[in-house]
Symmetry: C2
Subunit: 346 residues, 2 copies
Amino acid sequence: MEFINLSEKTQKSITSLQDLADLAGVSRATASRALNDSPLLNKKTKERLRKLAEKHNYSINRRASDFRLRRTRVISVVFMLDLRSDQHMSDPFFLDMLGSIADSLAEHDYDLLLTHAPMRNVLDLKESRVMRNSDGVIFIGQGEQHEKLNELAKGKTPIVVWGYPIAGKNYVVVGSENLNGGYQSTRHLLGLQHRKIAFFGNTGNPENAARHEGYLQALSQFEVEADADLKVDIPFEMKSAREAIIKFMASKKSFDAVVCASDVMALASISTFQELGLRVPQDVAVVGFDDIRLAAYSNPPLTTVRQNIQEAGRVLVESVLAMIKGEDVTDTILPSELIVRKSSGK
Amino acid sequence: MEFINLSEKTQKSITSLQDLADLAGVSRATASRALNDSPLLNKKTKERLRKLAEKHNYSINRRASDFRLRRTRVISVVFMLDLRSDQHMSDPFFLDMLGSIADSLAEHDYDLLLTHAPMRNVLDLKESRVMRNSDGVIFIGQGEQHEKLNELAKGKTPIVVWGYPIAGKNYVVVGSENLNGGYQSTRHLLGLQHRKIAFFGNTGNPENAARHEGYLQALSQFEVEADADLKVDIPFEMKSAREAIIKFMASKKSFDAVVCASDVMALASISTFQELGLRVPQDVAVVGFDDIRLAAYSNPPLTTVRQNIQEAGRVLVESVLAMIKGEDVTDTILPSELIVRKSSGK
DNA sequence: GAATGATTTGCAATCGATTGCAATAACTAC
DNA sequence: GTAGTTATTGCAATCGATTGCAAATCATTC
């Protein structure tokens, strides 16, 4: 009989706390406390159970535990895409951001639930999986839905938004120095003696609006009057962007430089300018925003404003997690930095 | 007393099946069957309970249900990044792929767990969250870890890989016509009278090896002898790619065209060539692979091989889900298409 | 009206953990 | 040795669903 018991023991794999407890001759409760490092438990017992668990390659079933504790250890990430222009998630900036968030979440042993369907109304999320099956939500961008985000943030699920801190908001914001970024890039162009500087971007979006504000401040500092015709609403999606740029060019409005709201937009602009026979930077200088990896390898290499994406992801994650713990969390504004390359230089 | 009951009724929100059952005056079991459309149940009862649930905005707690049924309704997506070259997930191709997979999974009501830490050894995943807490895994790329993937695929968790079907594999593969893609692009260059065509890419990776094979077939068809010196191992990451290209150029090996294993690599090549004073396509024609969105907007616009990413995501997802259901799943090879643009033309 | 069979519904165990409270064991001091 | 503490451990309820089996209801037929 003995050998049968033995073989059974070695064969049966440890799949639950009960198995482990049986094997160790203790109760399930004790096993649970051991693996959770409860201070109630005797150190020796703890150690013994831990070793046993390790030996049998057992670890607590995360889902059962989460279920019991009524938490999910999941954070949803929602990309707020621009609807009008059918903006696609393929903007490399988004992927870098996502990667950075994924890294930080993994460090904290949280899972990431990805949602990227463009939404006409974020309030539709209210009773959705996104809100119900995650402990917190990170929105990438505010789009033009600030009010609705504000409403959504009234719920119990913590919400952190990558974007611009609008007065009166009741969600937590993490963002770059958008205003300063717009200011720096414009100032840089002004320093190069450009005076007819256009702004490409949709200012319905608070981040872009701030960048535009920085652009205006720089102009005013150099006593250049802002020309409303040089503020052009360019969609995010490249094909539509190209069309919008061609339309703008058809207006024959004269300009010698462009501040773009994103690198992808800047690259689309450069490509379109070149197609139309303009040289960059000789005829038009261009600066972007984001410093996506490709920016350094475009032709010409793109002058742009670098956002600290690694840090952004870290702070976004730490902010939601802190909110989940019930802590008070304040907004964070990360520094942005002008990276000068050839697209704006000599 | 009555009004108290009433107010309690309206106040208490329905959060579990028990609540709903109590409210309807049936058992929890009946409520469960109603919402799961069990054929056992009377239609009227079903309808009544469904309406009640809807009215109170209640739906079954997914996590409790999954827990009971011992499933996760989560699919892990693992990006197999090239380690040597520190390839970064920011390749837009990956993001498009991820978006497409996310869409398909959402349609099937599955969650997506993202993992993108570069792994020296995928076998490390064996006992990890990735395998334990998901019903199936999608790998993007095989890297150079075919053997290990094969080993991993012996486990119970279904695995589908985006890549190239290697003989003797025991995982399911979904991929593009890599060989044909390499063939088409090389043939195109040959048709333009190029004869000294280089191949940029790391052929340790099966997909790239297939693209290279297509390149060789085209050369041989045109009776051009393949020159081993023109097969250059370029890393994925742009900065290292640039260095490798500069090193190759320093060898003074003469060439008039390049077939690249990816668009990002092609863009880095073009940028480096231009930096070194070569004109594209006049001095060197370049073709890429993937047709990322930016390819059409580079300078010059990039000739490339388009992969059907939407379809790829759909098939990857449907393949894992079918495997989870226990069905027999075969490999899928999706068509790829040469897109001719200026970087290879006149 | 009773017997038979077909429909519906309910009981209660179960998935794998956590934890308040009670019970026991181990010390301490007198 | 006993009473009073304190340190450990176990009991059993619980989280929110699902489902095999038994019980109850209904319809049908003689």
